[in-house]
């Protein structure tokens, strides 16, 4: 707990010293008979969870119990039982869930990588059927950590469930402009298109242009190259026969660029042409093998064994045409 916590404030009163809790007998942690570990928590922690166990046991649904879960969640936000019981209380007391949304927002902004707090948010949004604050919240989190998996997951859920696709492509464009290597943003691009227009010929053309433009800015960008490959999975002509893409790659290569991702795409274009048996004369097995050799020894030494494998695969393609390389599962 790195943030300033209530229990450190001088006015914080232990539950055992609060008059409204006098009629509850706190319930000690029941690890006593087989002490895997000796116990000596800080006082506020012990005090709060002793009372939490007591209300859980008595199934107490009350304002004070609700307040207690807030302290317990503050002391240990990852404790999922606390959140579950809090929801029982919210329902039981028929509380204003908008207040709960405000409260959980403050918690999420401090605990952005905690499964329980995001799940609590999701349940409350589902109960309210009101997604109007979710884009704002996730944007607040993504501003600080643009790849936060929980925030993206929540955002995708909200957008898909409540059909909030409008404006999302613009938002993603801002993020990519900010950081062209943001893989989460590229993935979100795919998510939006897949869920809206689909990859029609027109959309493909637009997206290919968009991606090539961004590859030009940073050529050693795994995310953009992977997105390009993802797009071309939807193109009838495959990887090698899209003139726009192949011309772009050749131009980049001719300019002296040796990004491993560029070379890898050219290698795959060569493999595709070789296994099709005909096509662009720029793409030959010999060229691919030469590139793999350069990747192995110069441009991507870490993955030398992968490039060696590619050379061997091409030798097989040369021999067997389009046949499978003969792997098996066991």
């Amino acid at each position: 707990m790195s943030d300033s916590s209530d229990e450190n404030d001088s006015q914080y009163v232990l539950y055992r010293d609060r008059p409204e809790w006098k009629n509850v007998t706190p319930l000690k942690q029941d690890d006593a008979d087989e002490p895997v570990v000796a116990i000596d928590y800080t006082e506020a922690f012990v005090d709060c969870f002793d009372y939490f166990r007591a209300i859980l046991k008595n199934k107490e649904i009350s304002e004070r119990a609700l307040e207690l879960t807030q302290t317990a969640a503050h002391l240990n936000p990852a404790n999922y039982t606390v959140w579950q019981y809090r929801r029982d209380i919210l329902k039981g007391l028929d509380k204003d869930l908008n207040e709960e949304l405000d409260y959980i927002e403050t918690v999420i902004l401090k605990q952005t990588k905690n499964y329980q707090v995001w799940h609590h948010r999701k349940v409350i949004v589902e109960w309210l059927k009101d997604p109007s604050k979710e884009k704002y919240l996730t944007e607040a989190v993504l501003t600080k950590d643009a790849k936060n998996y929980h925030a993206w997951q929540h955002r995708q859920w909200v957008i898909k469930t409540f059909k909030l696709f409008d404006g999302e492509l613009d938002y993603v464009d801002c993020l990519i402009t900010d950081d062209v290597r943001n893989n989460s943003a590229w993935n979100q691009r795919y998510f939006i298109i897949n869920n809206t227009t689909g990859f029609t010929e027109e959309v493909l053309k637009r997206e290919i242009d968009y991606t090539l433009l961004h590859i030009k800015i940073v050529t050693e960008n795994e995310s953009a190259w992977n997105y390009l490959r993802g797009l071309l999975l939807h193109a009838k002509e495959g990887l090698s026969k899209n003139k726009r893409v192949s011309d772009f790659c050749e131009e980049l290569y001719a300019s002296g660029n040796r990004s491993p991702f560029l070379l890898a795409v050219i290698v795959d274009m060569c493999c595709e042409v070789a296994s099709d048996g005909a096509g662009d004369t720029r793409y030959t097995v010999e060229r691919a093998k030469e590139l793999c050799g350069e990747l192995m020894t110069k441009y991507d030494k870490v993955r030398a064994n992968y490039w060696q494998h590619m050379i061997e695969t091409m030798d097989n393609v040369g021999k067997k045409g389009t046949e499978d390389e003969g792997s098996s599962v066991n």
Partner: protein
């Protein structure tokens, strides 16, 4: 254009060996410190914590006697739902149910719990679309699909669920880069890829994987420091040494990465004072990263560590005793 790769630089003095005696001491003492505030703070993951610690100890031939652990797990089973919770008086959860079953399999002590209850619990969490919830509160992702089939497979009760539908859900989480995410069209992530490929290994459906596309993506996780990250442009972390390596092992492509530089990175993540492994050099060690550091070294062939099964993250001799043969690719 200049290339800036997100990575770390390793310290000058990297340990040349695994300091086994320190790691054993570290795990045995973890949580037994008088500073038990930590113990209270981690009660929500206790049973999984036990699995990390005990599996690590077994991999280095130092498993303690079973008694207190088995007794504890027994008490964490909820008699009505059949699920197992993280600690006493908490609600059951599928993550801890798997961890508990894994521990009991290591000790060969499944009789300690109501196995039918566990099966009933897992079955109750399957949804119409084949996915699994983590508990009755409805969070869904592919981690729970893995937990469900791993648990049932260890109990030899796969017939209890609709496996085909479960496979359909996991297959729907496959992305254009060959990876898998938490839900359909969620970003590929090495931890979730392990869950999905492990799931497909258990259900004998590796045919769904784009073997070499995925293996290449996984190899791309290796950084100049030798360490592996979990997604593009993220920092390396020892736990990905496990998630990436185990998946590459299942795919039969472990040799595609630079093993020597990875070993060096893992060795550098050891805390030579306290024992244990941290996520990356200089950070605080914990049992989670200690297990995954040791298990990764096992996959890399370290002769003093027991062989680990890449699908279950359990000692291979236990998987052999249970006569389980999760699918793997071989050339």
């Amino acid at each position: 254009m200049a290339t800036l790769i997100k990575d770390i630089s390793l310290q000058e003095a990297i340990p040349t060996r695994i300091i086994f005696e320190k790691h054993i001491e570290f795990i045995k003492e973890y949580g037994q410190k008088d500073n038990s505030y930590e113990y209270g703070m981690t009660d929500y993951l206790r049973v999984s914590g036990m699995y990390w610690g005990l599996t690590a100890l077994e991999l280095v031939n130092s498993l303690p006697p079973q008694f207190e652990f088995v007794e504890y797990i027994k008490k964490c089973q909820d008699p009505s739902s059949g699920g197992i919770s993280a600690c006493l008086k908490h609600d059951p959860h599928i993550l801890h149910t798997l961890s508990a079953v894994q521990i009991l399999c290591i000790y060969n002590y499944l009789d300690a719990i109501d196995v039918d209850g566990v099966v009933r619990y897992i079955k109750s969490l399957q949804q119409q679309d084949g996915s699994f919830m983590g508990d009755k509160w409805g969070e869904i992702d592919t981690r729970f699909s893995f937990c469900a089939v791993a648990t049932l497979s260890l109990l030899n009760r796969m017939d209890a669920i609709d496996v085909n539908k479960a496979v359909d859900f996991v297959a729907s989480c496959k992305n254009f880069d060959g990876g898998f995410g938490s839900r359909p069209l969620s970003e590929s992530h090495a931890g979730l890829i392990y869950c999905c490929v492990g799931f497909l290994s258990i259900t004998n459906r590796l045919d769904i994987v784009d073997r070499d596309t995925l293996a290449w993506w996984l190899c791309e996780r290796q950084l100049p420091s030798g360490g592996l990250n979990g997604r593009p442009e993220k920092l390396p972390d020892v736990c990905y040494s496990w998630w990436v390596l185990s998946t590459l092992t299942i795919l039969g492509r472990l040799h595609w990465i630079d093993q020597d530089s990875l070993k060096n990175f893992i060795l550098a993540c050891q805390d030579t004072e306290t024992g244990g492994f941290a996520d990356r050099p200089g950070d605080i060690a914990d049992p989670f990263h200690t297990l995954f550091g040791l298990a990764a070294m096992s996959l890399l062939g370290h002769e003093s560590i027991q062989k680990v099964n890449p699908t279950f993250c359990m000692p291979q001799h236990v998987i052999d005793r249970l006569q389980l043969k999760p699918q793997i690719f071989i050339d």
